[in-house]
C-alpha cells in the first residue's frame, strides 16, 4: 500500500515532467516557427526608422526581425559566443567591426549587389580600418568635442585644456565622458598624442593629467551630460557631436566646438556575418539603407552625420542652421583621427581608467 502510494506519486511526477517537457517543446517550436524572418538584424534601439521592417518589405518583399543591443560589448559577447550564428547583420562601432574582421566572422561586401555604395563620400570609402569598404559600410560618423552654454561661459572654449584645467568660474561645472576610449582621448589629445597611443609612458602622462582634472570635475557622464547643460548644473561638457545636438534642441545657447588640438573620428558601421545563410538578402538590406532617403532618416532623427553624400545633400538647410555641426564636411571630419582597435594595449587603457576613477 505504501509502495503503491509512492509509485503513484512518482508516476504523477513523471507524468507532470513529461507534460512540462512537451509544453516547453511546444513553446520553443512556436518561437521558432511563429515568425520566420528572412533577416535578423541587431542594432542599438532607435537607431533605425521605426517602420524599417514595413518599408523594407514593401521594397523587397523580405521580412526582417530587428533585435537590440545596448552596447558594442554586448553584441560582441553574443557574436563571440555563437561565432556569429543567429544574426545576419549587426551594427557595431568601427573598432569592433575591425575585430570581427580579424576573427574572420564578417562576409566581404558583394559590391555588385550594393550599387548605392556610390552614394558614400569618397572619404567614407577610404577609412583606414577598411579601405574600399571591403567588409563594412559606415552608417553614421562624427567626432567628439566640447559642448557648452555660450550664455554662461566667460571665454569661448577652444582647447581640451578648457575642460581639463577649467577657469575658476567653470570649476565643478564640467563633465567628462566615462567610456575609456574617449576619457583617455581627452588627456592624450591635450598632450599632443594619438587617440590610439599605445606607448605606456605616454598613457601614463595622459593619466596623470586626467587625475588632476578630476578635482575640477562635476561628474563622469555618458548619457545625461546634455541635460546637465540644459538644467544649468554644468556649463561645459565633453560630448559627442550628435549628443550635443540634443542639448541644442532644448536650448539654442548651447554650442559645440572641436578643440584646436584635434579630436577623434568615430564611425558606426554595418557588417554582414559570414555565418549568415541569407547573404543576398543582407546585401539588399545594406543597399536599402544606403538609399539617400532611408539614410537621411538617421541624420534627421538621430542628428548624427551620415557618410552618405546624396543623403546629406537632401537635408533641409534649416537643419544645419539649427545644428551647425551637421554642416561639418566629410573632408573636415576625415581630418580627425580614426579610433582603432588597440589590441593588447586595451588593458593599459582599462587600468589607467580604473586608476583615474579610483583617485581621490
Amino acid at each position: 500500500m505504501t509502495s503503491a502510494i509512492v509509485s503513484t506519486h512518482a508516476g504523477a511526477w513523471r507524468k507532470a515532467a513529461k507534460w512540462a517537457s512537451v509544453a516547453i517543446g511546444a513553446v520553443v517550436l512556436q518561437a521558432g516557427t511563429a515568425f520566420s524572418a528572412d533577416l535578423v538584424i541587431s542594432n542599438w534601439a532607435g537607431y533605425m526608422a521605426p517602420d524599417i521592417a514595413e518599408s523594407f518589405k514593401a521594397a523587397t518583399g523580405l521580412e526582417i526581425e530587428v533585435v537590440n543591443h545596448a552596447t558594442n560589448e554586448e553584441i560582441m559577447g553574443k557574436l563571440m559566443a555563437s561565432q556569429g550564428k543567429g544574426f545576419d547583420i549587426v551594427f557595431v562601432s568601427s573598432p569592433f567591426a575591425e575585430i570581427l574582421n580579424y576573427q574572420g566572422l564578417v562576409e566581404p561586401l558583394d559590391k555588385a549587389a550594393v550599387p548605392n555604395l556610390a552614394n558614400l563620400y569618397p572619404e567614407a570609402a577610404a577609412l583606414a580600418y577598411d579601405p574600399g569598404n571591403a567588409y563594412s559600410v559606415p552608417y553614421t560618423w562624427g567626432t567628439t568635442g566640447l559642448c557648452y552654454r555660450s550664455d554662461v561661459v566667460k571665454t569661448t572654449p577652444d582647447s581640451w585644456l578648457n575642460l581639463l584645467q577649467p577657469s575658476d568660474d567653470l570649476k565643478g561645472k564640467v563633465t567628462m565622458l566615462a567610456t575609456d576610449r574617449w576619457l583617455m582621448a581627452a588627456g592624450l589629445l591635450a598632450k599632443g598624442y594619438s587617440v590610439n597611443e599605445t606607448d605606456p609612458a605616454k598613457i601614463d602622462e595622459a593619466k596623470a593629467l586626467l587625475i588632476e582634472a578630476k578635482k575640477t570635475l562635476l561628474a563622469y557622464d555618458d548619457t545625461t551630460f546634455y541635460s546637465k547643460l540644459v538644467s544649468g548644473e554644468a556649463s561645459l561638457v565633453h560630448a559627442w557631436d550628435g549628443w550635443c545636438n540634443y542639448g541644442i534642441t532644448e536650448n539654442k545657447d548651447i554650442k559645440f566646438v572641436v578643440p584646436k588640438e584635434g579630436s577623434d573620428l568615430w564611425v558606426d558601421t554595418i557588417v554582414v556575418l559570414k555565418s549568415s545563410e541569407k547573404k543576398d538578402a543582407a546585401m539588399k538590406f545594406i543597399n536599402f539603407i544606403l538609399d539617400a532617403k532611408n539614410h537621411a532618416w538617421a541624420a534627421q532623427n538621430i542628428l548624427y552625420k551620415v557618410p552618405n553624400k546624396a543623403a546629406m545633400e537632401s537635408l533641409d538647410p534649416a537643419l544645419s542652421q539649427q545644428y551647425p555641426n551637421m554642416a561639418m564636411s566629410a573632408a573636415e571630419l576625415a581630418k580627425y583621427e580614426l579610433l582603432r582597435d588597440l589590441g593588447a594595449a586595451q588593458r593599459d587603457y582599462s587600468r589607467a581608467v580604473s586608476e583615474i576613477k579610483a583617485a581621490n
Binding site: 509512492v6 506519486h9 580579424y102 544649468g232 588593458r347 579610483a358
Partner: protein, 289 residues
C-alpha cells in the same frame, strides 16, 4: 511510512534545481573563469593562470576594495542607527497598526531601484529641490554641491536598503519576551541598562542579519556609485562591470567577483555564528525567566 519522508524531498526539488542551475553553476563558472586567460577580443582563452587572482591583491584594486568596504560600512552603520529606533517604534505601536507601519516602511520597494536612485538626482542636484528650498528660505550663497559625492552615494545606499534592515530588526524585536524586560526592571536595572544589557543583546541577531544584508548589497553595488557618485567614486562593483563591458577582461572580472563572493561567505558565516551564540543566550534568558 517511507513515503512521508520522500515527499519533502520531492517538494524541495524545484527550489534545489533552481539554486543549482541559477546559483551554484554560475558561481562555479565564475570560479573557473577566474583561472583562465583573457581573450584579446573578449571571451576567454583556455590557458590556466593564477595571474587574475594575483591582480586582485594589486594595491590599486586593494584600495578600491577598501574604499568600497568603507562606503558599505558607513552605509551599514547609518542604516542600523536609523532602522533600530524605527523598528523599536513600530514594535511599541498598537498591534493592529504594526502591519500598516511595516507596509509604509517597505513601500519604496514598489518602485524600481533605478527610478528611486534617479529621484535623488532630482532632489540633490545644484538646481534641485533641496537647493531651491534653501533659496526660498533666504539662502543666497552658491548652490550646495550635494550630488556626486561620497555622501550622496551613502545616502542612496542607505535609502534603498533601509527597509531590509528595519524588517530584520523588527522581526528580532517583536520576538523579544516582554517578561525579560520586566525581570530586568524588577531586579533594579534602569531603562538604559535594560536596553543595553537585555534588549540590544537579544536583538543582536536581527542587527547582524540586517547589517550583513545591507553591507553585502552595498559593497558590490555599481548603480548607485555610477548614478549618485557621478562615476567619481569607483567601487569594486564598477570595476567588475568595466572588466566585462569595456575592458573585455572576463577572467579578471571573474576573479574580482570571486573575491566579493568570498567576502560575502565569510560575513554570512560570522553572522550565523553570532546568531547561534545569541540564540543560546536567548534560550538561557528565557529559561531563567
Amino acid at each position: 511510512m517511507t513515503h512521508r519522508a520522500s515527499h519533502p524531498n520531492l517538494l524541495v526539488l524545484p527550489a534545489v534545481a533552481w539554486l543549482v542551475v541559477f546559483m551554484l553553476i554560475p558561481c562555479l563558472m565564475v570560479l573557473f573563469y577566474a583561472f583562465l586567460t583573457r581573450g584579446i577580443y573578449g571571451g576567454v582563452d583556455y590557458i590556466f593562470t593564477f595571474e587574475n587572482l594575483a591582480r586582485v591583491f594589486d594595491p590599486l584594486y586593494a584600495k578600491i576594495f577598501l574604499t568600497s568596504a568603507r562606503i558599505a560600512g558607513l552605509a551599514t552603520l547609518l542604516a542600523i542607527l536609523i532602522a533600530y529606533p524605527a523598528a523599536y517604534a513600530i514594535c511599541l505601536a498598537p498591534k493592529k497598526w504594526q502591519p500598516v507601519l511595516l507596509f509604509f516602511a517597505v513601500l519604496p520597494f514598489w518602485s524600481n531601484y533605478l527610478i528611486r536612485t534617479y529621484a535623488w538626482i532630482v532632489l540633490l542636484n545644484r538646481e534641485g529641490l533641496v537647493n531651491n528650498l534653501l533659496k526660498s528660505l533666504g539662502y543666497t550663497g552658491e548652490p550646495l554641491s550635494l550630488l556626486y559625492s561620497e555622501g550622496a552615494v551613502i545616502t542612496g545606499l542607505v535609502y534603498n536598503y533601509l527597509p531590509f534592515v528595519i524588517l530584520a530588526i523588527y522581526s528580532s524585536l517583536s520576538r523579544l519576551n516582554p517578561e525579560l524586560l520586566e525581570a530586568s526592571r524588577d531586579l533594579g536595572a534602569n531603562a538604559l541598562t535594560t536596553f543595553w544589557r537585555v534588549t540590544l543583546r537579544l536583538t543582536m541577531p536581527g542587527i547582524a542579519a540586517g547589517g550583513v544584508f545591507i553591507f553585502v548589497l552595498s559593497i558590490g553595488n555599481f548603480v548607485t556609485p555610477a548614478v549618485l557618485g557621478g562615476g567619481r567614486f569607483q567601487m569594486i562593483g564598477n570595476v567588475v562591470y568595466d572588466q566585462f563591458l569595456t575592458a573585455n577582461d572576463w577572467p579578471f572580472g571573474a576573479a574580482l567577483g570571486m573575491a566579493l563572493i568570498v567576502i560575502m561567505i565569510v560575513l554570512l558565516l560570522l553572522q550565523a555564528r553570532l546568531t547561534a551564540h545569541f540564540a543560546g543566550e536567548r534560550r538561557e534568558a528565557n529559561d531563567g525567566a
